[in-house]
């Protein structure tokens, strides 16, 4: 059998099984991968201007806490996520404003302002940030993130430009 040039019946079956099996595997396997990673390829939330509070309520030199929620449709459900931060006025100038994101730069827990410590403390891994967001102690790799774009509306409300990742 093997000395003839013709393909033996056995080998024909083996090759055919391999080809058909491979074709089925590909036809099912590739769409499956696409199916599994599909949500990871979606765009994030929409960007928006978010009001965080009235300028007159923000004392100079004292962090002003704010929070807001954003709703996004994920799959078959509307998911609302909470965000927050602290606005710190340095002077009377309404644009002289530092707006920090309270999301810890270590592993994304929420930091809280502590009046006693005079610092932002993270409850998860004892991170400590200065009022301007610099790392004072603990594991964070970089200072707190800030919302660079902000504006003062005509009726005295501070708004930040926000885009969820």
């Amino acid at each position: 059998m093997s000395d003839s040039k013709e393909l033996s019946r056995r080998d024909f079956i083996k090759v055919t099984t391999g080809i058909v099996g491979g074709a089925i595997g590909l036809a099912l396997g590739l769409p499956s991968i696409s199916y599994l990673i599909d949500p990871a390829l979606r765009e994030g939330g929409k960007e928006a201007w978010i009001p965080i509070g009235r300028l007159e309520n923000m004392e100079i030199g004292k962090p002003y806490q704010f929070s807001f929620t954003r709703v996004q449709v994920n799959g078959w459900e509307r998911t609302s996520s909470s965000f927050g931060g602290y606005a710190l006025r340095n002077s009377e100038d309404p644009n002289d404003l530092l707006i920090l994101n309270s999301r810890c730069t270590h592993l994304a827990c929420t930091v809280n302002w502590s009046e006693q410590a005079g610092a932002y403390l993270c409850p998860c891994h004892d991170a400590k940030f200065s009022p301007t967001g610099e790392v004072l102690d603990g594991p964070p790799p970089r200072p707190l993130d800030s919302f660079a774009e902000h504006r003062l509306t005509e009726d005295g409300v501070i708004e930040i430009f926000f885009k969820a990742g």
Binding site: S32, P39, W76
Partner: protein, 219 residues
Amino acid sequence: MWKKVYEWMDERLGLNEIYTSLLDRPEPKGNWWNTLGSASLFLFLLQGLTGIFLTVYYTPSPDHAYDSIQYIMEGVAYGWLIRGIHHWGATLMVIVVFVHMLRVFVTASFKYPRELTWLIGIGLLLATLGMGFTGYLLPWNQRAYWATTVGTQIAGTVPFIGEFILKALRGGPDLSALTLQRFFSAHIWMLPAVLAGFIGVHLYLIIRHGESHWPKRED
């Protein structure tokens, strides 16, 4: 290089022996009707695979079951394909398993020494039907809801213990979130476990006894 790797593996795992006894074993002359068992096995694996993928998005809760399936069909890439294969594969599997049983019956392959293979085969048929019944409820649409209402009601007509069976199936007197959850559990854990175990024994018995020959006039 690969030859050496293969030889190393073969020496420890006995790959050649497995190949010879599983795929290169002597067989009586058969025909296409003899392939239905393998077809059933293939469909079982296909259903298992697509079923696992479906659980990535499906939610067995009355609030979200329907919506999550809508999402699979319209929101996820190739969701329609995965669910389509699972949906039609289920029907095909019931048909193929049933025709496989008919072939075994017609060729009298259930006789000594294969009685146990036949009995386990009956278990496999019933488990396959159970998969169909429990899977039918999961989309939680009108058809699923009423089909399960009727199906469990039929089970409830058993004399004396019917009431108990109905409540055990539904997880209470009514069709509820509990029904959906326990049908889901049966569909993805209990019945597949039974199927996998029975298939293992079924295949072992087939390899142990070999396939029966096609009956002749004098048999």
